[in-house]
């Protein structure tokens, strides 16, 4: 088939366009949150003392960090789903969340005596955290990868990894409502490991699902 012949066939197919990326991304985000909500309430549920916890700065700060991660990764993911986006220009935005958590860790190290550091870091829920953040996040990750497949990322594995970060941010936001370990030392350690697991899944999934 010659190129001008191919063009005739493509032009004849001009009426059928894929759904707009905006619609697809917001649809995927809403469904991802719905799935995370369902899995969270089915398996864990919020901690019993959530009303009192909500008055403490440490508890609330967990949500600042996790929501910042989910939101920044989602914005980045949408950009990376378009072929012309240069990752070098947009990846620096990812530094927002690590900066927040590092600042919180620094403050925690100042206000908490050194003897208590290790108890706070180890906490009581590390295994629960490592199990349930990936478990809550895997459904949202699958949805975000489906949306990414509809796009045209020039770097599918990288974009998939960012989808993993976004799913990790969503999952961690829910998990934070369950967990009683509120110290930034705990969050910086265990949440990071749990979210890294999802990020690796995302990179692998992106390579497979978002090829085009």
């Amino acid at each position: 088939m010659e190129t001008h012949e191919l063009i005739k066939a493509l032009a004849a197919d001009s009426r059928r366009t894929g759904a707009p990326m905006n619609t697809v991304w917001w649809g995927a985000a809403l469904m991802a949150i719905a799935i995370a909500t369902t899995v969270f309430f089915a398996l864990l549920g919020p901690r019993p003392d959530i009303a009192t916890a909500a008055q403490t700065f440490r508890f609330l700060f967990k949500f600042v960090v996790t929501i910042a991660l989910a939101a920044s990764a989602f914005v980045l993911l949408r950009m990376l789903s378009r072929p012309e986006t240069d990752p070098r220009g947009v990846l620096p935005y990812l530094a927002i969340t690590p900066a927040l958590i590092l600042a919180a860790v620094a403050i925690e190290l100042v206000v908490v005596p050194a003897e208590a550091w290790s108890t706070r870091l180890i906490g009581t829920n590390s295994l629960v955290c490592l199990t349930f953040i990936p478990l809550i996040g895997i459904g949202p990750l699958a949805l975000l990868l489906l949306a990414l497949r509809h796009g045209a990322p020039s770097h599918p594995a990288l974009a998939g990894a960012i989808a993993g970060l976004a799913a990790g941010g969503i999952a961690a936001t829910f998990y934070a409502a369950h967990c009683t370990d509120d110290s930034p030392l705990f969050v910086a350690t265990w949440y990071t490991i749990a979210i890294t697991i999802l990020t690796l899944f995302g990179a692998l999934g992106g390579r497979v699902a978002a090829r085009w």
Binding site: M1, A11, D13, S14, R15, T17, A152, W212
Partner: protein
Amino acid sequence: MDGVDERSLARLLRAALDGDERAYGDFLQETARLVRAWARRRAFGGPDPEDIVQETLLAIHVKRHTWRSDGPVTPWLYAIAKHKLVDALRRQGRHSRIEIGEVEDRLAAEETETVRDWEIGRALETLTPGQRSVVTAISVEGRTIAETARSLDMNETAVRVALHRGLTAIARRFGRD
């Protein structure tokens, strides 16, 4: 010159996305011209530039919803072309050891045949017979949707569906082993 290309291409693609078939055809012609010049400079000694052009046009077709209609067209278009060129180079690298014999065969074949068989021909063969006859009727034979429907004894909707599915399958199949 690039400024002129950019503005007229954006206008054509916007019209195309609103359903203007003719504007879409013009857009694809112009795009083919740009990508051909671009690929000839880069694919020297590597994959056939015309394969890159065809693969890029197919990718543009199935991914045209990823263009932001308020943004520029050419960076988007060259990014897709680059993605496809990298793909083709990677494929070639993977097969480079067995390729020498194939190249000799191809050279021998080219001496006897005047019409080159592009990669797309191989993808076309993987379609279902129904899809293939619709795609061939509209592309190679140059028929309209209505003429194709009459000659294949189908209704127009079925022709459009077969065409769409066939092109999507070719785009997915293109150059894969």
